[in-house]
């Protein structure tokens, strides 16, 4: 299993999450500006994500939340600004470099490998950690098989953790939506990321599925010590899960702080409810 950075503070439903304090900055973005042609998707955004926290990014539709995640994992290249991850400033990079540095991600519209089984999908998360060369893979037996089994074991832990044992051998294209979301989380977890980006992990779910997913997110953060940045529209989920919230609107940053502070912020209230109501 991975190194378990167990959080000393047990998460208990009643204790306010503000009790958790995080000092070490894992990722910081400064002055990010991203434009497509003439459209400005992000302008001068800056915030940080600290090690071990659950950070929510919220905002109305089109606020630039997904663009922000795309910038963080190297899919979009901002015209201005810098990103520092684990103390290193990143220059232009491709998504696979971000993966190598320990950033994993799930997508708003499920982006699973539809032709593959659940197990194979989760196993792709281990690809970066598999080292045997093509020659041994062609032989299969020997080093390659040992490696396959080692990583299979790891993936089975994740599968157990997310309670998807029964669909292990099912092609993911045949799974219902909620399950697909869960497999996607499993696949991201298999990468043992330091920073996990979740793009609307609960979109389109009913209340039971949301509760399951919230539990998984908290468990991941708690048991693996994974830092999580998530985008979510359901405010009650955001308020319950996150340690700190950053609010975007029209590509600008509106507010940044604890859930309680943000929800009292007048600018945020205006953006969500409209001015003059």
């Amino acid at each position: 299993m991975s190194e378990i950075l167990a959080d000393p503070l047990p998460l208990d439903g009643d204790a306010p999450e503000a009790a958790r304090v995080f000092d070490e900055v894992l990722l910081s973005v400064d002055n990010i500006t991203l434009t497509f042609g003439g459209v400005t998707a992000l302008s001068n955004i800056g915030f940080d994500i600290r090690k071990g926290e659950i950070r929510a990014i919220i905002g109305p539709n089109g606020a630039g939340k997904t663009s922000m995640l795309n910038v963080i994992n190297g899919f979009y290249h901002p015209q201005q600004g810098k990103i520092t991850f684990k103390g290193e400033e990143r220059r232009r990079m491709r998504p696979h470099n971000a993966a190598k540095q320990g950033i994993a991600r799930t997508f708003q519209n499920v982006a699973l490998f539809k032709g593959m089984t659940t197990l194979d999908n989760v196993m792709t998360g281990r690809l970066l950690k598999m080292k045997t060369n093509m020659f041994w893979q062609a032989i299969y037996w020997g080093p390659n098989q040992r490696e396959e089994i080692k990583h299979r074991e790891f993936c089975e832990h994740i599968i157990d953790f997310l309670e998807i044992q029964a669909i292990r051998k099912t092609p993911v294209g045949r799974l219902p939506y909620g399950m697909q979301k869960r497999v996607e989380l499993a696949r991201a977890l298999a990468m043992e990321p330091e920073l996990l980006l979740l793009d609307e992990p609960m979109a389109g779910m009913n209340i039971e599925e949301k509760e399951d997913m919230s539990r998984f997110i908290l468990d991941v953060n708690d048991q693996f010590g994974t830092t999580i940045a998530l985008i979510e529209h359901d405010m009650s989920v955001v308020m319950d899960l996150s340690d700190r919230v950053v609010v975007l609107d029209y590509g600008r940053k509106l507010a940044d702080g604890t859930p309680a502070a943000v929800s009292r912020d007048q600018k945020v209230i205006d953006a969500y409810l409209g001015v003059g109501h």
Binding site: F36, T66, N70, F75, F107, Q108, A111
Partner: protein
């Protein structure tokens, strides 16, 4: 298309032509065995351009179907063959070519309906690549079907187009430039067809519906666009374009099996111009046609003959490396 783009082409294209000529002249100076004269160069070039219009005619059929159904219709070439074979068949019955032409148009409508019913409808919402492979199936089927019906002998198709070459610009170049009249007429017909289609797509209600269908089958259905009708219309139009191309090509080189293979010539034209652009198909055809002829004569001198077989593809591939969406294609923005 904006005016700046057109202007840059109007200036850039002739400059490129002259530049290419200069390069070849330099090569000819270095290697005296390579014959070069400006008159000869332009003759080759113009011959290539006219040939290129013929490629465009075939490419046009592809673009039409691609625009309307995002399907790469590999069968366009066999539709050309099938249309030409059918028309020759009717003429052999003793009909006048105009009647044969009209009858063949009717056959192409039936064909479009059959394809829609048997192939497209069951494959709605399948991945594009599946549809592409299905059209390879249609390609083989039509090839076999046409020849089963009408036989596979080489047949001539003559609708009375002039065949004598004319010589122009005698006072500018030594010996003038020889132009094949047949190609010239074909080019004019092709041009007219393109104009008509452009109007059809941009100005009519059906044209707008076509573009909606191309974007998203389901979404188009849900706003009440009759998918079936649209497909029949577009495949019919593609069929008629194929017929015109078949008449031209068949008149030029006889109606025979190889006619289906000119589709292979149209493919690089297509990716060069961009799959979704009618002007792209034209410009692409001109570039490929001229480039191919010039390369065959002058580059072929150095690296061996018959480079026509692959030159167009390599040229198109090089363009794609710089502009993956082709010269006139819509830029693809990837999203997650």
């Amino acid at each position: 298309m904006n005016t700046r783009l057109i202007a840059s082409w109007l200036i850039g294209a002739p400059a490129a032509v002259v530049g290419l000529g200069l390069v070849i002249q330099l090569a000819a100076l270095a290697d005296p065995s390579l014959y070069f004269a400006w008159g000869y160069y332009f003759e080759v070039f113009v011959g290539g351009l006219l040939q290129g219009v013929m490629y465009s005619l075939v490419a046009l059929g592809f673009v039409l179907i691609f625009k309307a159904s995002s399907t790469f219709n590999f069968a366009q070439g066999s539709m050309v063959l099938f249309a030409a074979l059918t028309m020759v068949g009717f003429i052999e019955w003793g009909l006048h070519w105009t009647i044969a032409f009209a009858l063949t148009m009717g056959v192409m409508v039936l064909l479009a309906m059959a394809i829609e019913r048997v192939v497209l409808r069951p494959l709605v919402n399948q991945p594009h690549i599946t549809l592409f492979m299905a059209t390879i199936g249609i390609f083989y089927f039509l090839d076999g079907f046409g020849q089963t019906l009408w036989g596979s002998d080489v047949k001539s198709l003559d609708i009375g187009m002039p065949r004598t070459p004319v010589i122009v610009l005698e006072n500018v170049f030594d010996g003038g430039i020889m132009i094949n009249q047949f190609d010239l007429v074909a080019a004019l017909v092709g041009g007219a067809l393109v104009l008509g289609l452009a109007v059809f797509f941009q100005k009519t209600r059906i044209g707008r519906a076509l573009r909606a269908v191309a974007d998203d089958h389901q979404a188009a259905l849900s706003v009440g666009i009759p998918l079936k009708t649209i497909w029949v219309v577009v495949w019919t139009v593609a069929g008629i374009v194929a017929l015109v191309a078949g008449v031209m090509w068949g008149g030029k080189m006889g109606v025979q099996f190889t006619l289906a293979l000119i589709a292979l010539k149209a493919l690089p034209v297509l990716i060069l111009g961009g799959l979704t652009s009618i002007p792209g198909a034209i410009v692409g055809g001109l570039i490929i046609g001229a480039g191919e002829q010039v390369a065959e004569i002058f580059l072929g001198h150095f690296i061996g003959s018959a480079i026509q077989d692959w030159f167009a593809y390599v040229l198109a591939m090089l363009v794609l490396l710089v502009r993956p969406q082709g010269l006139f294609g819509e830029k693809i923005i990837e999203r997650v």
